[in-house]
Amino acid sequence: MTLGMAGRPTARIEVEGLTLASAAGDILVNDVDLAVSSGEIVALVGESGSGKSLTALAILGLLPRGIMWRGGRVRLNGTDVTGLAGPHASIRGRQIAAIFQDPQASLDPRWTVGRYLTGQFRRYGATSQRAARAAAVDMLARVGLGDPARILGAFPHELSGGMAQRVMIAGALAAGPQFLIADEPTTALDVTTQAQILDLLEDLQADTGLGVLLITHDLGVVAEMAQRVAVLYGGTVMETGEAADVLGAPWHPYTQALLASMPDLAQPAPPRPISGSPGDRLAAGTGCPFQPRCRDAIALCAQRPPSVVVSGSHRAACHRSEPRLPHGFGGDKTQPQTSGYPLPAAGTSSAERRHVG
C-alpha cells in the first residue's frame, strides 16, 4: 500500500498483465495494465468488443463461464485478490461496487425497488428497516428520482430504462464503496439526467475519495470527468495517460482515428468512421491489433509494438511512436495532425460547464 500525500494510505486497484481467452483459445484481453487510486476517475474507452467489460468483470471476480484466465494479477490495496471466488470475494464486494452495462438484467424482476434498495442499505450498515428506507429515499433523490414513494413500490418492469439504470446506481452506492466500476453508467440517460449522475460521482470522489473506473463510449464524458484514460483496441492498451494529454494530443493512430470519428454537433458534416471494421484485427500476440486498419502501418507492425513514453505518464503502444519521439522530448509536446477533443477550460465548475442546475 502506498502512502498518500497526507500520509494516509491510498487505496488502489491494480491490474497487472491481465490476459483472458475464450474457450476456443482466442485471446480477448492481452496483457492489460491498469490502476485506479482513491479519489481518481479513470476512463476505459475503446471499440465495441475491445474487452472493456471483460476487464471490469475480471477485476470484480465475476467473469462469465467460458472465459479463461491466462495470466495477470488483480490487487486491492496491495492484497492479491486474483481469482474467481474465494475468501476475497466478500471484501471485494464491499469495497468495489459495480454498475453493469445491462441494468434491467441486474435487477431481480420479482423484487420491488424498495425491497432491493433497503436490502442493500441493511446489508451495508443501516441498523434498522426505517434507517435503511430513509437512506434509500435519500439516495433516490441524489440520482434524480423524485417521487420516492412510487419508485420504492415499483417493480423493475415498471421503470423506464433510465430509471432502472439510476436505481442500480443507487444500489451500488449503498455500500459506501471505496471504488466504483461503472460500465456505461449513463447510456440510457438523457443529457440533463446524465449531468446529474456525473455530478454525483464527482461529489463522491471529492467528499469520500471514491475511485471510479468509468467505461464509456462518450468521449465528452471522459473529457469532463476523467483524470486518466486507457484506450483499448483488440484487448490491448493502445494509449494511456492523463485525460488532457490523451484526448488533447492523441498520439496513437487508433486514438486519433477514434477522436476523428466523433459526431460533431457544431460541424456541418457527418462523422467520419474509421475505415475497416472492428473484426479486422490481428490475432492478439501476432502484432499490432490495429494494423489491418491503420493508415500509418509499416512492415514492423507485424510485430508487437512496444509501449513507448510520449511524455510523463503518457504512453502509446505503436511502432511509429519511436521515430516521432525526438520532437516530443525536451519540453514542449509535438502537435499531432489531429486536433484533439475540445477540453473544458480549466477552473470552470462542472455545473457551469454543463449549464444545468
Binding site: 456505461e184 440533463t192 456541418p268 457527418p270 468512421p273 449549464h355
Partner: protein, 279 residues
Amino acid sequence: MTTVSATRPERMTRASAAVRKPLLKVEGLNKSFGRTVACRNIDFTLYPGEVIGIVGESGSGKSTLLNCLSGRLAPDAGSIAYDLRRGSEDAPLVDILTLSEPERRMLMRTDWGFVHQNPRDGLRMAVSAGGNIGERPMAIGARHYGDIRREAEDWLARVEIDIDRIDDKPRVFSGGMQQRLQIARNLVTRPRLVFMDEPTGGLDVSVQARLLDLLRGLVRDLGIAAVVVTHDLAVVRLLADRLMVMWRGDVVEAGLTDQVLDDPHHPYTQLLVSSVLQA
C-alpha cells in the same frame, strides 16, 4: 449560442409531403400507469420514408409511446392509423388497435421492425447470431438455407460483426455487438416502418458513425420510415427529418429537426441543446 447549420447534405426535400398519403397517423393518444401519465394527447403524422426523432427526459414517456405505436401496449385512448396498403394504393388507413392479434403479429414480422432499448428484449439469446437474423426471412417464407445464411453473413458484415461469429450465441457478444445484431435482425426484411429505442446507446463513436451511415442509406435507398427515440442530439441531427420533444408525458415541442435544435422554445429543449453544446 452559435447557430448550427444543416448537417445532412443529401437530405431529400419533403415538399411533396403535404399531398402524399401518410404512413402512420396518430391522434389523441393517451396512456397512464396508475397516477403516472406516461403519454398525454399525442398527435402526429409520419410519411413514407420519413424519420421522426423523439427526445426527452428519462421517464418522459418515450418508450411507452413507441410501445403503443407498435401495438405492443394498448393505449387508454386515441387512434393509431397505419397504411396497410390493403387492396388499392389509396385504401384508407386502418386503426391498428382494431386488428386481430395474428394480423398484428404478421405486421410486426413483415412490415415493421422494433429495435429495443435493451438488446436482450429484442434478441433470442439462446439462438445463434445467424439464426437471429434468419428468423424474419424464414417467417415470411424464405426456405433456402444457403440464401438465408448468405443474407445473414451480409448483414453481419453491414453491422460490423465478424462473420466468424455467425454461429455464436448473443450471450457471448459484448453489449455493443448485441445492439448491432438486434439492428441487423430487424432490418434484414427491409420493413416499411422501424421503431427504434436508443439504437446507438452504448456504441463507441466509430461504430456508431458507421451504423448511422447504414441507417441513413437504408432510409434513403429503401424509403424506410422510422420513429427513433434517442438522447443523442448528434444522432437526431443526422437521422431525423422532424423532431418531437417529450417532457413528463407531453410533446412540448415539435418541428423540423434543424429548426427545433437551432431555435428551441420550450425550457427543457433549451436546456437540452445548451447542455450538449457545452459538453
